[in-house]
Amino acid sequence: MDITPVLLSLKTASVAILFTFVIGTVLAYQVCRMKNEHSKAVLDALLTLPLVLPPTVAGFFLLYLFGVNRPLGAFLAELGIKLVFNWEATVLAAVVISLPLMYRSARAAFEQVDPVYLEAARTIGLSERKIATKILIPLSAPGLTSGTILSFSRALGEFGATIMIAGNIAGVSRTMPLAIYSAVMGGREEEAYGYIIILVLVSFLFVWSLNVFTEARWGRYRLRTRR
């Protein structure tokens, strides 16, 4: 069994989660603070769309945006950045597809923090930045952690958008899910089993660790944070 797709997948998901975490958390924070309910609803729907659309459709849009013959793609190409049919494209696909999970988890986590803590923080003079980093994010940590783990696992299993925008180039963009597809199509079922077992095991490990980790780390003060 060729181990390259396994390494590619882990590398893609690891890099993608860095982007997903930061972008998802910041967007969730901004959406939570939006006053206008209508634009809030529209933005929320847009950010959730990649979760409900077939990944092939999301991939199609990405191709449409970043294709080298498109304005944005051409502009980026001028700068020496290419985001189609290479490894970077697998990261782009993974970020876009995993973003809704991170965004929604972070938003739910922020919204379950009792606003009284934020009000208290304001009345003792803490800046909004300090409130976010010292109070809101720590109190949302379990939700942010679960969002991170879900997003990572989703990025690891990303197929549809990846094949659209990154192709299925062995050694470059052939991640585990694509390798499984290629193996089955080529009648090499033995090879597919190997990847499938690894994918299932890694995903299970992450999602399982989520439960253990949140319990152990935050159990002590999460008992009564909401009254």
Binding site: D114, V116, Y117, E119, A120, A121, R122, T123, I124, G125, L126, S127, K134, I135, P138, L139, R220, Y221, R222, L223, R224, T225, R227
Partner: protein, 349 residues
């Protein structure tokens, strides 16, 4: 030290329109839930923006809709004790206090230690809020507020999260803390006892509007209208008909009573506090010296731990009235009650 508030705010079908000022000492906002008292407090702290009005603290404008001034809560310098105390659950008691500290960073640790000692929570410094009792949380929350050196102190139902035993201890403690503090204090409460014990001035809020305002003794002895009388705990209120300069007929009670005050046309009601009746013997009835004595029919008795509520009606009337006596008083032989003309409160509708 002075606080001036004059604000209007419409919010989810509720309309707040309140104005009061306090020169010094403690002001209590008394009202039932939904009277707008907590909302008023949040307007002062800047957690809610009024639609229009003015809020001034010690001559400093915190909010002025006409001049488009609306300071952020961070700029108001107002300490707020929340009903649930709102200690940050992810920080220890010491961290909770330290993060609020305003002033020289070099002196922070020493000041935090001093506050921990002053509120007798040194032993709890490294605990998390969830590990503290209600009273300990309140002390930690107060220490946190004073670490911030507030120019005014806002107390939102400070005892509602405490059980009855602790409540009385903390009332005495808070009274002492307020005295030592010396700045403007606004206390929001639905308990007339708390208001009376802790405050100098009182504003009664009802349905988003002030029903009465003044010094606490004044408002309790002369609430002036039915709503304020009810909220200050007056149990006996009747519609009246003026029969003389200083007398009226109480329609609900079916008795004629004399007053010390002049009865005016706008006095459509009268109130008598349940503690203000005195047992009288039937012989005094109609005699010149005790005009306000009338025969009663006892209907029910409710025993409390220290007092007894006697529910009765006047012999000729229909309305039920309350009389509160000491627990051990024997009322079985009481056939008539009297009330001093000074104890009768004339009320507007």
């Amino acid at each position: 030290m002075s606080l001036y508030v004059d604000v209007r705010k419409k919010y989810k079908g509720f309309e707040l329109e309140t104005a009061f000022s306090s020169e010094q000492g403690t002001l209590a906002l008394l009202g039932a839930s939904g009277s707008g008292k907590s909302m008023t407090l949040k307007c002062i702290a800047g957690l809610i923006s009024p639609d229009e009005g003015v809020i001034k603290l010690d001559g400093r404008v915190l909010f002025d809709s006409a001049a488009k001034v609306d300071l952020r809560p961070q700029e108001r310098g107002v300490g707020y004790l929340f009903q649930s105390y709102a200690l940050f659950p992810n920080m220890t008691v010491r961290q909770n206090i330290a993060i609020a500290h305003r002033g020289d960073v070099a002196g922070r640790n020493a000041e935090v230690d001093a506050l921990l000692a002053r509120y007798e929570i040194e032993g709890l410094a490294d605990r998390y809020p969830v590990q503290l009792s209600g009273g300990e949380q309140q002390r930690a929350a107060l220490a946190r507020i004073f670490a911030y050196r507030p120019q005014a102190l806002l107390l939102d139902e400070p005892f509602s999260a405490l059980d009855a035993f602790l409540r009385e201890n903390m009332q005495a403690e808070l009274k002492r803390i307020i005295r030592d503090y010396g700045g403007s204090v606004v206390l929001v409460t639905h308990s007339r006892d708390e208001a009376y014990r802790l405050a100098d001035d009182l504003v009664i809020l009802d349905g988003g509007r002030p029903a009465a305002a003044g010094s606490i003794r004044e408002v309790f002895s002369k609430p002036g209208n039915v709503r304020a009388a009810r909220i200050t705990g007056c149990k006996n209120i009747s519609a009246i008909e003026r029969t003389g300069e200083r007398s009226f007929y109480a329609k609900d009670w079916g008795v004629e009573l004399r007053t010390a005050e002049t009865v005016l046309d706008e006095h459509a009601f009268a109130g008598i506090r349940a503690h203000d009746f005195m047992a009288a013997d039937g012989g005094a009835m109609g005699a010149g010296g005790s005009p306000n004595v009338f025969a009663i029919e006892r209907l029910d008795e409710i025993d409390g731990p220290f007092e007894k509520d006697v529910i009765f009606k006047a012999a000729g009337g229909t309305g039920r009235m309350w009389w509160i006596v000491g627990r051990d008083a024997d009322v079985s032989g009481v056939g008539a009650l009297g009330v001093a003309p000074e104890a009768i409160m004339l009320l507007e509708g």
